[in-house]
Point group: C2
Chain length 465, copies 2
Amino acid sequence: MNKIEPQNVKGFRDLLPSNAYRKNEIVSIIRRVYESYGFLPVETPGLEYLEILLGEYGEENTKQIFRFKSPEEQEVALRFDLTVPLARIVAQYNDLPKPFKRYQVGPVWRADKPDPGRFREFTQFDADAVGTSSQVAEAEVIGAVVTALRQIGVGDFVVNINSRKVLNAVVRYSGIPAGRAKDVFRVLDKLNKVGLENVELELTKGRRDVSGDFIPGLGLTDKNVRKIKDYLALPKGERKKVLEEISGLLGQDSCDDLARLDGYLDALGLESSIVSFDPTIARGLDYYTGPVFEVNLKDKPQFGSVAGGGRYDNLVKRFTDTDIPAVGFSIGVDRLLAAMDDGGEETNFTDVVVTIMDPDKLDEYLRIANELRGAGVRTDLYLGQEKGLRKQLQYADRVSARFAIIMGSDEIQKGVVTIKDLKAGESVSKDSAQREEWLKKSRQIQREIPRRELVPEVLKLISQK
Amino acid sequence: MNKIEPQNVKGFRDLLPSNAYRKNEIVSIIRRVYESYGFLPVETPGLEYLEILLGEYGEENTKQIFRFKSPEEQEVALRFDLTVPLARIVAQYNDLPKPFKRYQVGPVWRADKPDPGRFREFTQFDADAVGTSSQVAEAEVIGAVVTALRQIGVGDFVVNINSRKVLNAVVRYSGIPAGRAKDVFRVLDKLNKVGLENVELELTKGRRDVSGDFIPGLGLTDKNVRKIKDYLALPKGERKKVLEEISGLLGQDSCDDLARLDGYLDALGLESSIVSFDPTIARGLDYYTGPVFEVNLKDKPQFGSVAGGGRYDNLVKRFTDTDIPAVGFSIGVDRLLAAMDDGGEETNFTDVVVTIMDPDKLDEYLRIANELRGAGVRTDLYLGQEKGLRKQLQYADRVSARFAIIMGSDEIQKGVVTIKDLKAGESVSKDSAQREEWLKKSRQIQREIPRRELVPEVLKLISQK
């Protein structure tokens, strides 16, 4: 029989235990923080009717959607974000709290050209406040994301903020027709990735990208571009200083929402070093209408933004006549995971592996496992064919267990059991030959105790860790 | 502008906060229990190449798959379970622990005809042990599921077990060609749902279902069916008794795996009242080769099985020449959630809502929210337009908050704050007019305290709850 090649669909990938475990940890920290900020959970399906997702979206965005026919021959598609489904449910259910603060975590799909580190399925963790035009809502979602990222321990990061109101004023100031504004924002959004020179080409006559494909330009005049460059040259960072500069160039009206937000951020104790204003931030999505934000890692700029969001006051209008202002912030969980994957820290999935020294005594090993699990110890029972201790200890190592329980028929008869510490000395050195030496030595660390003392002894050892 | 109708794709649904919150709780209990049993997490994508999922599956199953073309014009599909993707990753990655005990939770999709309570997207939570032919593995996955369901508190349930080895012996005993065995199992799997009479029709000449569609029969003879009915009439329940009866009818060889499993279940202290043998259990999936199990709720049989699984020793062979035996158990999280939805117990999402009595003092309210969150209190800050207290307290009720914090400009000046208990007296009566009365009265329960005592006081109140 012909074997089927075991492989992922192009642009998709698996998370094996170490990464899946760390992702769970990240997700549960964010969940706890978002709940502490009063966001309520919802879940929406992976599939939506295509028209729900498309709305006023342009051709460029529709190409990124996985679309197909339902069994009823209707056009359906995999969701590409969690924001449009939120707008749908706000319009669909009348009995939600108003304002509605919700969080949602789940996969989204984009039929992008896959790159190394850029996948077609990735997990977003969003917090949004719908039905409020107050900039306190911006301060709340920013505060929630800052708290979550701090607790995750992602290292130094900064939330960079700008406003579409400012950017609209820039478009006016530069003499560009308002109808071109969204095209301009999409180009400006690439600034950090492709640099000012390429942005300038895309604003004017177009350019070829690295693979030789031609990216058409917007056809703006040199005068238009000069004004945009004046604006982009404004300082970034210190919020009050940036407000002053923007105000000077574009008028105070352009940044009144940012000014209010600045005050609320002060009240939350969030300083410019962690939440700063940055005139170059634009965000690519069409639906933003007010402040926009993104999070960048100070020491790892190559990962791009690990979170992004902003105010979108018109999205719910796609589904209902009511005007429902909203603001949200989305954490890219996979990018965060990738950025934190420094090859260090081994994860301890399991506390104890119970080895099988005498296959005729399986009942006794099952009882031991049962007792340990009942006491809250993460306990694996060796299920393989290997009869030797060495191979079973290799298995214990492979599942990152901390201790092995060893007991042959003699020990069972005598009522004793051996606990072997598999990780003692590991903290000494992480990656040297010296560590190997240490490990060998530390593997000697084992102790025989009475069988009846096993559970309390293991609990003690684990808590010492 | 034409509005787009906000609606779900046929057969799909949303989980609003109360259900989403309870689902999170169920998932995190199962996760903790599976980890305590030494299962390691993995994640696989929602999409797989179609050939990965199809394998030797028959036409009946392929109809249930959502399939479409990737941007590279390859045939892809949404996964319909988590077991086939597991078989793929075991064949794809050489460096997994052997045996490999993994858990995975996630949505799966089936293009079934949607029924009330039967959805096209649902969440499975699977635990599998791959690379072990020992029946200890069966005992382990059963023990894990029993522990998880007990901790979730789903009420009385029973794990019903049979074996494909027994069922194959039934097919031989009944004089049915071995090649028809899987067809017979698929029909037997419907026994609990459609009854013996309809099963008999499907085994012979076929029948019309409730909607009038004709279900073709397998064309077995009356003699074949009489023998099957002899077998189905065997007692169920008490494991040792059932083993004896099966052994008497079909020979001891047919149930040697069940006999070994029985011994391990004894060692784990799992009695027949919670894990029983049932000759009528068949399971519908083709890939099972040994013991099969399902979980039924004693008081809620209408929900069908809330978990199912079994041994599948040939599935990995689809992808590799190596013979890799495996066993797994899958919990249907959504069905469990539905079965537990008795309309009772209100969920407390939020501890405290900070009301806005003076919009000019937003900074102070933000600081209060910040302090409470920092102390671990789940705190919502009112973001709506309503200025009156009554409307803001209605909001607090709507998000199931326990307490409201009330402070106007006078109180801010005086350095005091009021804590209002929104739920006092609720335990008295759940659904009567009396409760309304109580609530009104209890809403009076509020206390003014010095501002500096707010955080410790709230912490004390929450811990008393």
